[in-house]
């Protein structure tokens, strides 16, 4: 198709869709209304199970089955990435050369690594109490490790992230989430039912029944998944070179 024709098609399709969406938006409920049928129900259910952060209650209790799907998407993305970014037949590996890092950068990065790591773990651990949780904290913790790449060099990063271990941990945390779900079936309630553990005291670390456990499983999964994903892309950029090398 010629460029001109493609642009025409795009314009026609885009204009039609835009008109449709604009018309639909005029029919949306007004901004700032008071009626939130789902929100009201979700808050009530979350308080009934002593989970201070309603979002965590929706993610890991009321709609924990959706979270299983989302977690599996990340897990599948890691599996897919490992498969697609593997070393092709016409590529070879080259050891990266040690790099010079400006001293202030190095000092700052090494200072921030532990702080960022603790931050990430804190956000995971307090997922059921305050904004944040496994998904967000996992990403923070994983990126914290990569400050080493900025502060030192690629080899230093490789030393602190044994990829095989991270891949195994990633898979095992998916297993943990599923096993927690299956426990509900074995106890003759329902898959992913949050009825096995006591709900605890409201607004404490151990409140919410299985919510903190599922949250932790997701946190560990996300952290190791992001490490593996970034590692595969970095490998592609830093170590894997075209040509057979010889």
């Amino acid at each position: 198709m010629s460029r001109r024709l493609r642009l025409w098609l795009l314009a026609v399709g885009g204009a039609g869709l835009a008109a449709l969406l604009a018309a639909a938006c005029l029919d949306l409920p007004g901004f700032g209304g008071r009626a939130h049928p789902y929100g009201t129900r979700a808050v009530r259910a979350s308080l009934a199970r002593h989970t201070a952060n309603t979002v965590a209650s929706v993610n890991f209790d009321q709609r924990a089955y959706d979270t299983l799907g989302e977690m599996s998407i990340l897990f599948a993305a890691v599996l897919g990435c490992v498969v697609l970014l593997r070393q092709a037949r016409d590529e070879h590996r080259e050891r990266p050369r040690p790099a010079e890092v400006a001293r202030p950068v190095r000092r700052y990065a090494l200072l921030v690594v532990p702080v960022a790591l603790v931050c990430g773990l804190y956000v995971i651990a307090h997922g059921q109490l305050s904004p944040g949780g496994g998904f967000q904290g996992g990403v923070v913790a994983a990126t914290a490790l990569h400050l080493l790449y900025l502060g030192a060099d690629y080899r230093a990063l490789e030393r602190v992230r044994p990829l095989g271990t991270f891949e195994t941990v990633d898979a095992l945390s998916v297993c943990a989430y599923l096993v927690l779900g299956l426990a509900g079936v074995l106890a003759a309630t329902a898959f992913l039912a949050n009825t096995l553990l006591p709900y605890g005291t409201f607004d404490t670390l151990s409140s919410g029944g299985t919510v903190p456990l599922l949250n932790a499983a997701v946190g560990i999964e996300v952290a190791s998944a992001v490490v593996v994903l970034l590692a595969n892309f970095l490998d592609q950029a830093v170590e894997i070179e075209e040509g057979n090398g010889g």
Binding site: M1, L9, L10, V12, G13, G14, A15, G16, L17, L20, L21, A23, A24, L26, D27, L28, P29, H36, P37, Y38, A42, A45, V58, Q62, R63, Y65, D66, L68, G69, E70, S72, I73, A76, A77, L79, G80, V82, V83, L84, R86, Q87, A88, D90, G164, E167, T168, D170, A171, V174, C175, L178, L182, G184, V185, A190, F191, L192, A193, N194, T195
Partner: protein, 589 residues
């Protein structure tokens, strides 16, 4: 019993996670055996649940059973169609895993478990989508199956075409997913619900007086765009041939056999539960939209199928043609149409997977899937040849194959001039397959001279095994044989058609009952299609000189350009067309 429904998703995912964790330490046979056992166990569970699915089961995951009609949880539906699709998914995955037994030359170093693990996640995702009774949950599993499918399509990274096909697949399907998510957002804004049943009721109560408005129309067009992209309907279909031509054969078996059909199933489920009420889209508009797109899809698929020489692409276009037929049957909104589509999908899954399996054997034996280059070379693969030809006949709807029964029941349901589309599309696609069988396995007709014109030939392909095979392994002939036998059983086991019809109608169709049995009329049309297919193939083979591809197909062929930008432009046009086709009901209401 209903507590076990989510296990159809959880078991394959658990198997995949275990394989990913332990795959590097296990020997290869143990890895592949684990994959087979997990998928067989899920298939058995799906069948047991299917036998207990009358009356339909509903499971609230997490035990969030509605209190006073309200729930914050997610519902999973265990009725005939959903469990039937789940069982089909599980059985077909089992077949694909058995087919790929010791198949790929070298699994990625240190990741021996990744191929079976990805296949199991794919299985879990498709089961999850089939069982979903919650629109957002359906979207989550839609995304999961897309992500896995991209990775599986691009599995053979040494071939740049694989990466290109997977990328196109990824871009087009992700856009479809965004469209679907936007539609779900609109529906949620209107009703405050995510469960399909509750959204449907919400639309009826809020829009009941004035009928549907622009918001409902937009939501309908966007959600359907997502599902129709998956179902490879014209003009959303361009990704499918590009992806099928490059995906590993076992993956093609799943993509063509069941994933694309899940799109049609999604259309049926979502329309019937969400948009069928007085606040939704009127039946006449849905019929207009689906039948128009279905006919376009069948015709395009059939024409393009006939003019392919790359066998995998040929089969891919035949899948497009058949999806169009399923869509027409679902679109007429009668109980008979639903029954016909269900039976047709079951039969087609076995036949199409078997045809891909035979093509895979050719690829690994000769390193080519080009009809011209393979001319007369596969004469010694007698078993594969017989199976391939039988598959072609079954594709035409030869009684008593399941495809024939499904086609007959669908034809009865759509009636009139649409019957011609059924006969023509199935005859042309089957004719193309039979032509390939005659040339490749029997060496009939004149050997081709290369005209030098540029086209996707399919020669010089990489085999998927370590080097070319000296002989075709038993698994690669047993699996297609079993699949064809299953497709035959769909049409021959007494009472099976009625059983499917009963469970489909119990779940939808407003409780109306229809029977699905062979009728003289159906048998006659099936035989007619088959005769036409054989005639077309014989005509093509017996020509002294190969006729050039006629000029009128050139614009159609040029549309399949491989340029992602083109496909995206068509996707936008398609969404607009879909909305325009359903517009009269909104204006009139």
């Amino acid at each position: 019993m209903h507590h076990l429904l989510p296990l159809l998703v959880a078991l394959p995912l658990l198997g995949a996670a275990l394989l990913a964790a332990a795959g590097r330490r296990l020997p290869r046979p143990a890895v592949e055996l684990t994959g087979l056992v997990v998928s067989a166990a899920t298939a058995a569970l799906a069948l047991v649940l299917l036998l207990n699915s009358s009356p339909p089961m509903v499971e609230w995951v997490g035990g969030w059973v509605p209190v006073g009609g309200e729930s914050v949880g997610i519902e999973v539906i265990g009725d005939g169609p959903s469990l039937g699709m789940a069982a089909l998914v599980a059985l077909l995955t089992l077949a694909a895993l058995a087919y790929s037994w010791r198949y790929f030359d070298e699994p990625p170093r240190g990741h021996a478990g990744s191929f079976p693990a990805l296949m199991l996640v794919f299985q879990g995702a498709m089961c999850g989508f089939a069982l979903a009774g919650d629109l957002f949950n359906a979207f989550v599993f839609f995304e999961l199956m897309s992500v896995v499918a991209y990775a599986l399509t691009g599995y053979r990274i040494d071939d740049p075409k694989a990466v290109q096909g997977a990328l196109t697949f990824g871009v087009v399907n992700s856009l479809g997913a965004y469209a679907m998510l936007t539609g779900i957002g609109l529906l949620y804004a209107r009703t405050g619900e995510l469960s399909m049943v509750k959204i449907g009721r919400g639309l009826d109560s809020t829009g009941g007086q004035g009928g549907p408005d622009a918001l409902v129309l937009a939501a309908f067009a966007l959600v359907m765009t997502g599902l129709l992209v998956k179902a490879a309907t014209v003009p959303f279909h361009f990704w499918l041939p590009d992806a099928h031509a490059v995906a590993p054969t076992p993956v093609c078996m799943l993509l063509s056999g069941v994933m694309v059909e899940l799109g049609v199933y999604g259309v049926w489920r979502v329309y019937g539960t969400v948009f069928a009420g007085p606040g939704g889209i009127p039946a006449a508009d849905l019929t207009r939209a689906l039948v128009t797109l279905g006919v376009l899809t069948s015709v395009t698929g059939a024409v393009m199928c006939w003019y392919q020489r790359h066998i995998k692409r040929l089969l891919a276009f035949s899948t497009i043609a058949h999806t169009g037929l399923f869509l027409i049957a679902v679109g007429v909104l009668t109980p008979e149409g639903d029954d016909g589509a269900a039976l047709y999908i079951l039969g087609h899954a076995g036949v199409k997977a078997a045809l891909f399996a035979c093509t895979g054997a050719l690829l690994d034996r000769f390193g080519s899937v080009d009809e011209h280059a393979l001319h007369g070379r596969a004469g010694r693969l007698r078993a594969t040849g017989v199976l391939f030809a039988l598959g072609g006949l079954a594709l035409a709807g030869l009684p008593p194959f399941g495809t024939g029964l499904g086609k007959a029941v669908s034809e009865e349901a759509v009636g009139g001039p649409l019957t011609v589309v059924y006969v023509a599309a199935s005859a042309v696609t089957a004719g193309a397959v039979l032509r390939v069988a005659a040339r490749v396995f029997l060496g009939l007709g004149t050997p081709p001279q290369d005209t030098g014109a540029y086209e996707t030939s399919g020669s010089r392909e990489e085999p998927e095994t370590s080097g070319l095979l000296g002989r075709v392994p038993d698994t690669m002939t047993t699996v297609p044989a079993v699949l064809l036998a299953a497709a035959l059983a769909v049409g021959t086991v007494p009472g099976f058609g009625d059983l499917v019809a009963r469970s489909v109608n119990e779940a939808g169709s407003g409780g109306a009952r229809a029977s699905a049995e062979w009728t003289p009329h159906g048998v006659l049309l099936g035989v007619a299609s088959t005769a036409l297919a054989v005639g077309l193939a014989a005509g093509a083979v017996s020509r002294r000189r190969r006729p050039a591809v006629p000029a009128w197909t050139a614009p159609l062929r040029r549309l399949q350009s491989g340029h992602v930008g083109d496909y995206v432009a068509w996707l936008l046009v398609g969404a607009t067309v879909l909305a325009a086709l359903a517009l009269p009901g909104v204006l009139g209401g």
